[in-house]
C-alpha cells in the first residue's frame, strides 16, 4: 500500500515539475502519433476479394465493350505474370483499335506495386507510340489514364470516362 502511495507521489511530483517546454513536447508527440495513425488508417485498404471488386465494376460501369482477359493475355499485353500477384482483374477493349482497358492488381507485398506501376507506364508508352499520328482520340484517352494505388491494390484505367471506374473501385474497397 505504501509502495503504491509512493509511486503515486513520485508521478505527482514529476507532473508538477513539467514546464511549458515539456508539455509542448508531449503535445507534439501526441499530435504526431494521431497524424500517423490517421495516415495509416487512410492508406490501408480492407481485405476485399477481387470477385467483389469485379462485381461492383460490372454493376457500376459499362464493361460491355470490353472482354475479360486471361493469364496469358495479362502477360501478353501488360508483361505481368499472374503467379507473382495475389489476384487481378483485367478487361480490355474488344476492338482492335480500342485502347480502353481496366486493370486491378492486388499484390502480396506493397513493394511489388512498383513493378506493376512500371508495367503500366510501359503499356501506356507503347500504346501511345502505336496510336500516335493516326489515332488522336486513343492518344487523348491514354494521356488521361488513371493510376491509383491504395493498400495492396493498384488500379489502372484507360477510357473516355476513367473517373467513373475509379470511383466505383474506391467505393468497392
Amino acid at each position: 500500500m505504501s509502495k503504491v502511495t509512493g509511486l503515486q507521489k513520485n508521478i505527482g511530483d514529476r507532473l508538477r515539475r513539467l514546464d511549458a517546454s515539456d508539455i509542448t513536447k508531449i503535445v507534439l508527440s501526441i499530435v504526431l502519433i494521431l497524424f500517423l495513425a490517421a495516415v495509416y488508417h487512410r492508406s490501408g485498404a480492407p481485405d476485399v476479394p477481387m470477385d467483389s471488386v469485379e462485381s461492383a465494376l460490372r454493376k457500376g460501369t459499362d464493361l460491355s465493350s470490353m472482354q475479360k482477359c486471361s493469364n496469358r493475355q495479362l502477360m501478353q499485353f501488360m508483361g505481368l505474370d499472374y503467379s507473382d500477384y495475389d489476384s487481378y482483374i483485367y478487361y480490355k477493349s474488344r476492338e482492335a483499335l480500342g485502347v480502353q482497358e481496366v486493370l486491378i492488381v492486388r499484390v502480396y507485398r506493397r513493394d511489388d506495386l512498383t513493378a506493376v506501376e512500371d508495367a503500366i507506364d510501359r503499356r501506356i508508352a507503347d500504346q501511345t507510340r502505336t496510336f500516335e499520328g493516326y489515332g488522336p482520340s486513343q492518344v487523348a484517352m491514354l494521356k488521361n489514364a488513371i493510376i491509383y494505388k491504395r493498400g495492396n491494390y493498384i488500379f489502372y484505367c484507360v477510357d473516355k470516362n476513367p473517373d467513373r471506374y475509379e470511383e466505383v473501385f474506391r467505393h468497392a474497397l
Binding site: 517546454s21 513536447k25 504526431l32 497524424f35 492508406s43 507485398r109 506493397r110 513493394d111 501506356i124 508508352a125
Partner: protein, 467 residues
C-alpha cells in the same frame, strides 16, 4: 510536381517568377512568404496530406532547436532535447520508409503472416529529414544559432528547388541566404541556363537511356544476350547520372534564379579512376552529410584499423539503406563499403601505379556492377542479371536483338558517354564567351527540344520516389 513537366515549366514557374519579382527587393520577408507558399503548393501537388507532415517537421525542429539552445544558455548540455529531436526525426523517417521493409523482413525470418499497411512514401522525406537533422545537430554542436524566424526555417526545409531530389542543403550553408540574398539579371540568366541544360540532360538523354534500359529488362530469355545486358547496364549507368545530375542542375539553377547558391552535387563522377574518387564526385551532398554527421562522429579514420573498417561498413550500409528500403540497397551500400576498404588497405597503391586507362576501366566496372544491384527489384534479380552479363547460362554473346539495340541506340550511348565528361561543357563555356548570341540560341534549342520531347513522349520516369 516534377521540374520536367509541362505544368511546372509553363504554369507554376512563370506564375511564381512573376509574383516573386513583383515584390520589391527590399521586402525579402514578403519574397520569402511567396517562395514558401509556392513551395508548399509544389509539394502538395501529388499528395496533399503530406504537406502537413512537412509543416509539422518544420515546427518540431524549429521548436527543439530553440529548446536545445535555451538549455545550453542555462548551463545545461541540451543533450536530452537533442536526443529527443533525433529520435523523433528518425522515427518519422523510419515509419514511412522502413516500416514495410521491417515487417517483410520479420515475416520472412519467422515465416509469419503479420498483415500490415505499407504507406506510400512522402516524396523527398529522406532529403528534408536529413536537412532538418543537419540543423538540429549543428545547433547542438553550437555551430549555428537557432533560426529566429519560423518562416525562414520552414522555407529552408520546404524550398521547392531542392525539396524532392536534393541536393541535401545543410542549414549552415544557407543560413545567411535566408535573410539576405542578391538577385540580379546576371544570376537569373545563369540560373535559367543551368535549369534548361539540366532539363535537357533529364529529358533528352536520361529518359531515352531509361527507355533503352527498360527495353533490355523486358527482353524475354529467348532474345537475351550477354552484350544486350551490358548495353542495358550501361544505359542505366548513364541514365541515373543524367537523371540525377540533371535534376540537381535544375535545382541549383532554380535556386540561383531566386538568389540562392546551393553547393554542387555532382562533379563528373564517371571520369573517376577509383571508387574512392567516384564517391567524392557522386551525390556529394549526401556523402558530405554522412561524413560530417556519422563517419567523423564514429571516429572517422583516426581509429584502429578494425574500428575504421567497422565505421566504413556502418556508414555504407546506412548509405545503401537511405537509398531504398530493401536488402539489395543494403547490399549495394556494403558492396561499396567493401570496395573502399579494399582500395584503402589492399590494392589502393597498386591501383595508383597502373595506367590511367586501367584505373578508369576498373572504376567504371565496379560502378556499373553496383548499378545492377541498384536497379534490380531484389537480390536474386541482380544476381541473374549479372550472371547473364558474365556469360552464366546458355545465352548467346550477341544476337539479332543486340544488333537492333546497337543500331538504334549507338549514337545515344556514345553521345551520353562523351557528355558525361567535363570537356564538352568546358568547350561550350569557351564558345559562349566568344559567341554569346549563338550560345543562347543553342541553350534555347535544347530547351525547345526538351519541351517538344515532353509533349511528344509519355515516358518520363521519376527515379527518386523511393529516396
Amino acid at each position: 510536381m516534377l521540374f520536367s513537366s509541362i505544368v511546372f515549366i509553363f504554369c507554376f514557374l512563370p506564375i511564381l517568377l512573376a509574383v516573386y519579382f513583383l515584390v520589391p527587393k527590399k521586402y525579402l520577408f514578403a519574397r520569402n512568404i511567396v517562395l514558401l507558399l509556392f513551395s508548399l503548393v509544389f509539394y502538395s501537388w501529388g499528395e496533399p496530406v503530406y504537406v502537413f507532415l512537412m509543416i509539422y517537421s518544420a515546427f518540431f525542429n524549429y521548436f527543439m532547436a530553440h529548446l536545445i539552445a535555451q538549455n545550453r544558455r542555462k548551463g545545461g548540455s541540451g543533450k536530452r532535447d537533442f536526443l529527443f529531436a533525433l529520435v523523433m526525426n528518425l522515427f518519422i523517417l523510419c515509419f514511412f520508409k522502413y516500416f514495410g521493409f521491417l515487417m517483410d523482413t520479420v515475416n520472412g525470418i519467422f515465416h509469419s503472416h503479420i498483415s500490415y499497411t505499407a504507406l506510400s512514401l512522402p516524396i523527398g522525406i529522406s532529403f528534408y529529414t536529413f536537412q532538418a537533422l543537419s540543423y538540429i545537430i549543428d545547433v547542438y554542436r553550437d555551430k549555428v544559432k537557432p533560426q529566429s524566424s519560423f518562416l525562414n526555417f520552414t522555407l529552408y526545409l520546404a524550398l521547392f528547388p531542392q525539396l524532392i531530389a536534393g541536393p541535401i542543403v545543410k542549414y549552415i550553408d544557407i543560413e545567411s541566404q535566408l535573410s539576405y540574398r542578391e538577385t540580379n539579371p546576371e544570376k537569373f540568366g545563369q540560373g535559367a541556363t543551368r535549369f534548361m541544360l539540366g532539363l535537357g540532360k533529364k529529358v533528352l538523354l536520361a529518359n531515352n537511356l531509361g527507355a533503352l534500359h527498360q527495353l533490355v529488362l523486358n527482353l524475354p530469355d529467348s532474345q537475351a544476350s550477354v552484350l544486350s545486358f551490358w548495353i542495358g547496364a550501361l544505359a542505366y549507368t548513364l541514365q541515373i547520372y543524367f537523371d540525377f545530375s540533371g535534376y540537381s542542375d535544375m535545382a541549383i539553377g532554380l535556386g540561383r534564379m531566386f538568389g540562392f547558391e546551393f553547393l554542387e552535387n555532382f562533379n563528373y563522377p564517371y571520369i573517376s579512376r577509383s571508387v574512392t574518387e567516384f564517391w567524392r564526385r557522386w551525390h556529394m551532398s549526401l556523402s558530405g552529410w554522412f561524413r560530417n554527421y556519422l563517419y567523423i562522429p564514429l571516429g572517422g579514420n583516426r581509429v584502429t584499423v578494425p574500428r575504421h573498417i567497422l565505421n566504413l561498413l556502418i556508414v555504407w550500409a546506412l548509405t545503401g539503406l537511405w537509398h531504398g528500403a530493401s536488402w539489395n540497397f543494403v547490399f549495394w551500400g556494403l558492396y561499396y563499403g567493401v570496395v573502399l576498404i579494399l582500395e584503402k588497405y589492399v590494392f589502393g597503391s597498386a591501383l595508383k601505379q597502373s595506367p590511367a586507362w586501367a584505373q578508369h576501366l576498373y572504376a567504371m566496372l565496379v560502378v556499373l556492377i553496383g548499378w545492377v544491384f541498384f536497379f534490380s527489384s531484389d537480390l536474386s534479380a541482380a544476381v541473374h542479371y549479372l550472371g547473364v552479363m558474365f556469360g552464366v547460362g546458355r545465352f548467346a554473346f550477341a544476337n539479332v536483338k543486340t544488333l537492333y539495340l546497337l543500331r538504334t541506340n549507338l549514337v545515344l550511348l556514345i553521345l551520353s558517354c562523351v557528355l558525361s565528361g567535363p570537356r564538352p561543357m568546358e568547350r561550350f563555356r569557351r564558345f559562349a564567351e566568344d559567341r554569346r548570341v549563338a550560345a543562347v540560341i543553342c541553350i534555347f534549342a535544347v530547351f525547345i527540344l526538351s519541351v517538344a520531347y515532353l509533349v511528344y513522349s509519355s515516358y518520363n520516369p521519376f527515379l527518386y520516389f523511393r529516396f
